[in-house]
Amino acid sequence: MTGRDLVNAVVDEARRSGAEASEAYFERSEDVTIEVRDGAMENLKVAQESGVGIRILRSGCLGFAYTSDRSWTALREAVDAALANARVASSDPFNNLPKPPAAYAGMNLGDPRLKEIPLEDKIELARRIERSGRAYDPRIQITEQAAYEESHYQVSIANSLGVSASDEGSFCGGGASLVAGADGEQQSGFGIQYTRNYAELDPEAIGREAAFKAVRLLGARRLPTKRAAVVFDPYVVTNFLAVLSSALTAEAAQKGRSLFAGKVGERVAAAGVTVIDDGALPGGLMSAPFDGEGVPSRRTILIQDGKLTGFLQNSYTGAKDGLASTGNASRGSYKSTPELGSTNFYLAPGELTQEQIIRQTDEGIYLTDVMGMHTVNPISGDFSVGAAGIWIEHGELTTPVRGMVIAGNMLELLEGIDAVGSDLRFFIGKGAPTVRVARLTISGQ
């Protein structure tokens, strides 16, 4: 039975069992991971997984159940469990399932040759990542990880209003985490690249980036506490974007869990700051023709030139706000209900190169690593994170620093952005250029 047939059969079964509205979601994936160390393969992982998640609506109450067992008995038990769960859930008039769209966009989301490329080539690719990193500098002494990974997936969704859709695709990537050592001190750095197209992978660039980042932190020390400029590396910006993306969901706003609640139309960031979610981005790692409920993916501007223009929506939050879903229903897997999540979420690039931004900074930190992003309070926006990077004096990178703490508030940070770089780079689902914030507290000694 194909995934599409399976989900349609489950929706029919739910209807027979008395569900007013129902939805079935099927997912199947096959993954390969290769890890090498010291030139030899250390770990190989091959995986296949599939399962079905069933959502049922009954008098406005929502029930959910999932199973990895696709036997008809197990599927019927899951339908019954979802119905039973709906009986104890609270009724909510905004619970709804989407109607079928006119059409879904065709997307080319995979590399059809990926499965044909021999395993040996992929192992060699991981070895090349490690080799180029180790060769970059004699102080690179330990491989924490050097890996190649690929994933093939297939998704089908059907609901009782007539949605019936399927999608498949693949992606692959490489990553390295390398450790540099000198004078009894160790520092690590990472490099990463994910793509829809195997030929685009550049193993040497991944290895060199990891080595470069590890070596540049050697000799890092703590400086005295100061208020100064902070130049955020694109990767660090994406860490903050992860917090922003959840604060920019309609769910967070509706439940008073967002620092942006009630601020649509207001200025929430400096001019020049534009934040976009684009589920249809060509070649995007998080692109798909439809979201976790079968709503077509699209591009949504959330902050335009500093002004808040809206929130990410799914069918439920959209109904509550009287707005359409933005196609941002996301599922962690078949085991989760569709919630709200970003797709390809990024800060739009500006004009300056990273080098120009650093050169125009009199004193501050070029921030390359943050720790403890989970401590950012998504409601108040207060944050206080561990920081490492390179100190900037008179437009020049000087000494590496670590063990510092950067504290402030997300809104202050967004309003304080005074330079946006042109170097937009994606780290899987989040993308950003270099960004400078005029003044933040950098605590040290």
């Binding site: 030899a40 250390e42 770990n43 190989l44 992982k45 091959v46 995986a47 296949q48 997984e49 599939s50 399962g51 929502l62 959910f64 999932y66 199973t67 990895s68 067992d69 696709r70 036997s71 008995t73 197990a74 038990e77 899951a78 979802a82 769960n85 104890v88 859930a89 609270s90 002494q141 330990i142 924490e144 450790v179 001190e185 160790q186 520092q187 690590s188 703590r222 506490t225 439940k255 008073g256 085991k335 989760s336 209900t337 720790m371 403890g372 989970h374 401590t375 309070n377 409601i379 108040s380 206080s384 994170v385 561990g386 063990g403 510092m404 703490v405 504290a407 507290t441 605590s443 000694q445």
Partner: protein, 485 residues
């Protein structure tokens, strides 16, 4: 316990696996390599989510699958599938065996193993109606709301139970059937006044059944979470800079888990990825410090009868009065060091290979009354509830947030402070600890490593760290905010 697959229909209704079939699969997976293993799992779970006074999510699920591992020298091949029929597993075993080592097939004889650890379950979650679980969630929600109907803007309650049934068999003859029952509940409260918004959190969890929630436990959780959020509304911003930090026993052992535990996991230590690599026998901490990992503690969230390689849980002393005495091992790291496994080979599920992980990790109590530790601290920060943390095991640097902190002034606990984070270095902190209390408090969580989450607990007495960097806002900001309010 009966074989967990006998009563269950597989994909396509195919037959279940018995011991001799497992032996056959192991032979195919091993193919002349050093070691092969099959891990079969069936997990049933219930999750309930309550927010905005609504029971929003009621989710039940079943997941099953098997992971097969072959190890040869330093090479590990791992594969997993949802398909539990013999043909699918033989195919996977062949694929995994080839990847590790192609060689001769040798016989395997499985011997059933028992564990000395007893983890009784009084009321099974799968025998408890979902209505009763919803009632527990409501109890927590309402108790939180009652703390202050006006200032509490939001109360979120999460409930989860899992019953994980596993069968573990390997080419060394180990055969284990086990069932792990866990329940957990957490409450998150949001309080708001003017422009200030603060949150409070509390949770409970155990390797136990529904009896975990007896004695008004859900209401206690709700009250604690609400109290913390309301307290932090009145708190001033934490000071920034270096100061003495007293971690209260009530705060639990998150610090010892993050700042020391991870570095004592043998995989990291063996690869020179830990600040504790090659330090066995060395003085790595103040002599007041004894650190233990113990998976046998009754009912704790991090406890288990067997680890995920079929070794019984045990008590392992990691640091004895400041001297590093051992690491936490799984099968592979123990073989590499020529020591016995310590029952720390754990995995999130059949989708993952086991790696060395903590169970319940604690800093052992000392002799000083906790009140005396505060009295002897002229000025500093008292941490009464610890938030999440992160550690860089390579250099030992860590960061924690402090959801409930107070100033200590002239040996007395004074104003509550919010927004503090602790930044420091694990080995440095262990050496600095100069006072260890005689009290003892636990905390729990899901610990993440290499993309795998496993349930853990941790504990510690009240301790004093003479000098830590507290991140906050420096003085001119506090003044600005005071004026703004």
């Amino acid at each position: 316990m009966e074989n967990i697959y006998t009563s269950y229909e597989n994909n396509g209704g195919k037959r279940v696996l018995d011991k001799s079939e497992l032996e056959e699969i192991l032979r195919v997976a091993q193919r002349g390599s050093d070691f092969a293993e099959v891990f079969m799992e069936r997990t049933e779970s219930t999750r309930i989510g309550c927010e905005a006074r609504q029971i929003e999510r009621v989710i039940s699920g079943r997941e099953q699958g098997a992971g097969i591992r072959a190890v040869h020298g330093e090479n590990t091949a791992y594969g997993y599938t949802n398909a539990l029929d013999k043909e699918s597993l033989l195919r996977l075993a062949d694929q995994v065996g080839r990847a590790a080592q192609a060689g001769e097939v040798s016989p395997v004889a499985l011997q059933r193993r028992e564990s000395p650890v007893d983890l009784p379950v009084a009321r099974r979650p799968d025998a408890t109606p979902v209505e009763d679980k919803v009632a527990l969630v409501r109890e927590a929600e309402e108790a939180a709301r009652r703390q202050d109907e006006k200032l509490l803007r939001q109360v979120t309650v999460g409930y989860a139970d899992t019953i994980q049934q596993v069968t573990i068999a390997n080419t060394e003859g180990v055969y284990v059937e086990d069932e792990r029952v866990r329940c957990r509940m957490s409450v998150n409260a949001v309080a708001a006044e003017g422009t200030v918004i603060q949150t409070g959190y509390d949770s409970v969890g155990g390797t136990r059944g529904e009896e975990l929630f007896d004695g008004e436990k859900p209401a206690d959780l709700g009250r604690q979470a609400a109290r913390r959020a309301l307290l932090m509304l009145k708190a001033r911003r934490a000071p920034a800079g270096r100061m003495a930090v007293v971690l209260s026993g009530e705060a639990g052992g998150t610090m010892v888990h993050e700042a020391c535990g991870h570095g004592l996991e043998a995989d990291l230590a063996q690869k020179n990825l830990s600040v504790y690599s090659g330090k066995k026998g060395a003085q790595v901490a103040s002599e007041l410090v004894t650190v233990v990992d113990d998976g046998t503690l009754p009912g704790r969230f991090g406890s288990f009868r067997f680890d995920d390689e079929g070794n019984p849980a045990q008590k392992t002393v990691l640091i004895d009065q400041g001297i590093l005495t051992g690491y936490m091992h799984d099968h592979i790291t123990a073989a590499r060091d020529g020591v016995a496994p310590t029952g720390n080979g754990r995995r999130q599920s059949f989708q993952h290979r086991p790696i060395p992980r903590m169970s319940t990790t604690y800093l052992a109590p000392g002799e000083t009354p906790p009140e005396e530790i505060i009295r002897e601290t002229k000025s500093g920060l008292l941490v009464r509830h610890m938030g999440g943390g992160q550690v860089n095991t390579i250099n030992g640097d860590f960061v924690f947030d402090v959801p409930e902190g107070y100033l200590i002034e002239n040996g007395e606990v004074t104003a509550p402070v919010r927004g503090a984070t602790l930044t420091g270095n694990g080995p440095d902190v262990l050496k600095q600890i100069d006072l260890v209390g005689k009290d003892f408090g636990f905390s729990l969580g899901i610990c993440g490593k290499e993309g795998q989450g496993v349930p853990v607990s941790d504990a510690q007495p009240t301790i004093r760290i003479p000098s830590l960097v507290v991140g906050g806002i420096i003085e001119d900001d506090i003044v600005e905010e005071g004026e703004g309010d």
